[in-house]
């Protein structure tokens, strides 16, 4: 076991997978450049050679199709894009091709590809560099959608994604790349489709994913001090979603707040509220609630993003409101960090 950050954990998973299986290849814009996609692809080319690790033309759509074709002959591609927004050019190959191949050809072959997409917020990333589109991908049958929060899960779930026989959308929040944690050595796969209860509690269930799980934990720590016990579920996999864990928790707490880093309408949080309301209506003691991004493109100026993101204070305030507590003190206790548009003061950009 060693301590490392999320980006290093991704890098370790890639090394491990390529070492284990010579059919794993890795490509994407910048994977062999000096910055190595925020360090996540460092040394791969050196260790595994330019046949298996290569930079690519700026052709997101075709290169997704290339991964499909290679997969049909047993090659497992890990494709990387520095921003999810660029990958929108590849929707045809992803949605009409990769997601449906196994089904529409009568389950005769499969498309084991992993597509790493980086999502984020802040630092003036603006309207087309900061989207969190997990809901889009989870809408498509045949795709798996993964959003690990911790370095340990980043490594374990990337390994599981690479060796999964299906196309997996692997979403990394840029604000998590520098987070540090203990990570086990070797081939430590974390099964897809299993959520993790990162904090047990009895008063309310908070369901979150990726960076929202971090905000949820901060809120839960604060609420603990106010005498409110939150159960925090880190979904880890968005599709297929671990409904059992969500339903069990809501049955226990009777209250649900679903958090989402994506836009509100059609969000994963909305889906969670719908399913819980339909299946656990009798267990609910209050109306379930959602905190997601407003249905507004993210602006660029730091003046415009003040108060724009969902953060721990919003979560804590909402929870207290749902439980009928006085919220007057929350924003005084949990003030917006300054600056508000970076993961920590140590961060000096660029993204």
């Amino acid at each position: 076991m060693s301590q490392m950050n999320y980006a290093e954990a991704i890098n370790e998973a890639l090394h491990e997978a390529m070492q284990l299986d010579s059919s794993v290849i890795c490509y994407g814009l910048g994977v062999t450049d000096p910055k190595a996609v925020f360090g996540t692809t460092l040394n791969l080319e050196k260790q595994f050679g330019p046949e298996r690790v290569f930079d690519m033309p700026t052709s997101e759509n075709a290169m997704t199709g290339v991964a499909i074709g290679a997969a049909l002959n047993g090659i497992k591609s890990v494709m990387t894009h520095q921003r999810i927004d660029f990958f929108l050019l590849a929707m045809d190959q992803l949605v009409n091709g990769a997601a449906k191949w196994h089904y529409m050809f009568g389950s005769q072959n499969c498309v084991p590809i992993t597509i790493r997409l980086i999502i984020g917020r802040g630092w003036g990333q603006g309207p087309t560099h900061s989207q969190n589109l997990q809901a889009w991908f989870s809408h498509i049958p045949g795709l798996k959608v993964v959003m690990p929060t911790t370095p340990e899960d980043a490594k374990g779930m990337l390994l599981a994604s690479i060796f999964d026989p299906n196309p997996v959308i692997f979403l990394e929040h840029r604000w998590l790349h520098n987070s540090i944690g203990e990570v086990l050595d070797g081939d430590i796969r974390v099964p897809l489709g299993k959520a993790k209860i990162i904090k047990s509690g009895k008063d309310i269930t908070l369901v979150a994913m990726s960076y929202m799980s971090i905000e949820a934990i901060h809120a839960a720590d604060y609420l603990e001090r106010q005498g409110i016990s939150c159960e925090v579920i880190d979904l880890r996999t968005i599709k297929p979603l671990d409904w059992e864990t969500v339903m069990e928790s809501v049955s226990k707490t009777g209250h649900l707040l679903a958090l989402d880093s994506g836009f509100s309408t059609g969000s994963v949080a909305g889906e969670i509220i719908a399913r819980v309301s339909m299946e656990k209506f009798n267990a609910l003691k209050s109306a379930p609630a959602r905190l997601a991004m407003p249905d507004v493109p993210e602006p660029t100026s730091p003046a415009l993003t003040k108060g724009f993101y969902i953060r721990a204070a919003d979560v804590a305030e909402k929870v207290m409101d749902m439980l009928g507590k006085d919220t007057g003190q929350v924003r005084k206790d949990l003030t917006e960090p300054r600056p508000h548009d970076i993961p920590g003061k140590w961060f000096t950009g660029p993204f």
Partner: protein
């Protein structure tokens, strides 16, 4: 066009006739029966376009990969795809090549490395390029053949795919069947007048050849040469052939009356019908060849009739199968 029939040419000509007649017979039988309403999916027939796939059938090896388009019946058959499984697929039966999940536009036969067809214009092009990348990574001599039409050349993914194939010098044979129409839109409203598709692609840095549909033997030589170049590691090659679809874009009817193309143009292509010209060359001198042709036709006619009987007699898939196969299970990736 008259083909010289002699001892050295006859076998090849008969083989070409076999494939062309077989594709024509299958497509026309689908057209004949389509109005019965039992084939309940869109069909894009290749009647009139048999020559190129037939040449392909005689040029390519079983281990080579191929992908194709919505108009893919001919390519599937030419690659050696199972006829019964294709007809059953169009009938939506469980014995279909995609178990009823795909229909006419999603044909596959892994026994002959026919890797799939797509209903989305241009969609299978990068898939074919990816298959070529896999051959290169695995160090085999398999080439990957990508069928496309003139419309697909207008898709961005086409340029992306050609570019990547060129950068990596991948063993890809692009086979463009230019039949002048994308659905009902004439080439003249889609691409600048006088610009050659093949020449444009050549400018992207790959070899090309262009052939007219009415000289089968010349086209056969072009394809042979291209395949051998690609196989010997010289990188991708783009072949463009001019051809013509006889029937409507989608369906079993003729549609010259609706006003997007002229009857004269249609008749002009009927006159240079490769199948008829080949047949008349073969039957010109001597009853021996005529007898051989009759026996080929008889064999194919009964094979095709049997395929339709097989499809009709096959069971439909269970309703519950609609919900199965969304995800591949772990074993499938091994």
């Amino acid at each position: 066009m008259v083909y010289a029939v002699n001892n050295s040419s006859i076998e090849n000509l008969l083989d070409l006739f076999y494939h062309m007649y077989r594709i024509r017979t299958v497509e026309e039988e689908i057209a004949r029966r389509y109005s019965e309403g039992k084939m309940r999916c869109p069909v894009h027939l290749s009647t009139g376009q048999e020559a190129i796939p037939s040449i392909f059938a005689l040029t390519i090896t079983k281990g080579d990969f191929a992908v194709s388009t919505h108009r893919g019946h001919a390519h599937y058959l030419a690659k050696g795809g199972n006829l019964n499984a294709m007809i059953a697929e169009i009938y939506g039966k469980s014995t279909g090549c995609s178990k009823g999940k795909g229909g006419s536009m999603h044909l596959i036969d892994l026994n002959v490395n026919f890797m799939g067809t797509s209903a989305i214009v241009g969609n299978s092009i990068p898939v074919g390029v990816g298959l070529a990348l896999s051959s290169k990574l695995k160090g085999t001599d398999q080439i990957s053949c990508v069928f496309l039409g003139d419309g697909a050349v207008e898709e961005g993914v086409f340029y992306e795919s050609v570019n990547f194939a060129a950068v990596k010098k991948l063993p890809v044979l692009f086979i463009c069947e230019n039949n002048l129409y994308s659905v009902y839109s004439d080439l003249s409203v889609r691409q600048p007048k006088g610009r050659s598709i093949a020449k444009m692609v050549e400018a992207m840095g790959i070899d090309m050849s262009f052939g007219n549909d009415n000289d089968i033997l010349a086209n056969q030589q072009l394809m042979k040469k291209a395949v051998s170049n690609v196989r010997s590691g010289n990188g991708p090659h783009f072949l463009e052939f001019s051809t013509y679809r006889w029937r409507e874009h989608c369906g079993h009817n003729f549609d010259n009356d609706i006003g997007y193309r002229s009857q004269d143009e249609f008749l002009e292509w009927q006159v240079k019908d490769s199948l008829k010209l080949l047949e008349s060359s073969l039957t010109k001198d001597g009853s021996d060849t005529t007898t051989k042709l009759s026996s080929i036709k008889e064999k194919i006619d009964s094979e095709v009739a049997a395929a339709f009987e097989f499809a009709e007699a096959s069971p439909f898939p269970n309703q519950s199968e609609a919900y199965e196969g969304v995800y591949a299970k772990e074993e499938a990736s091994k």
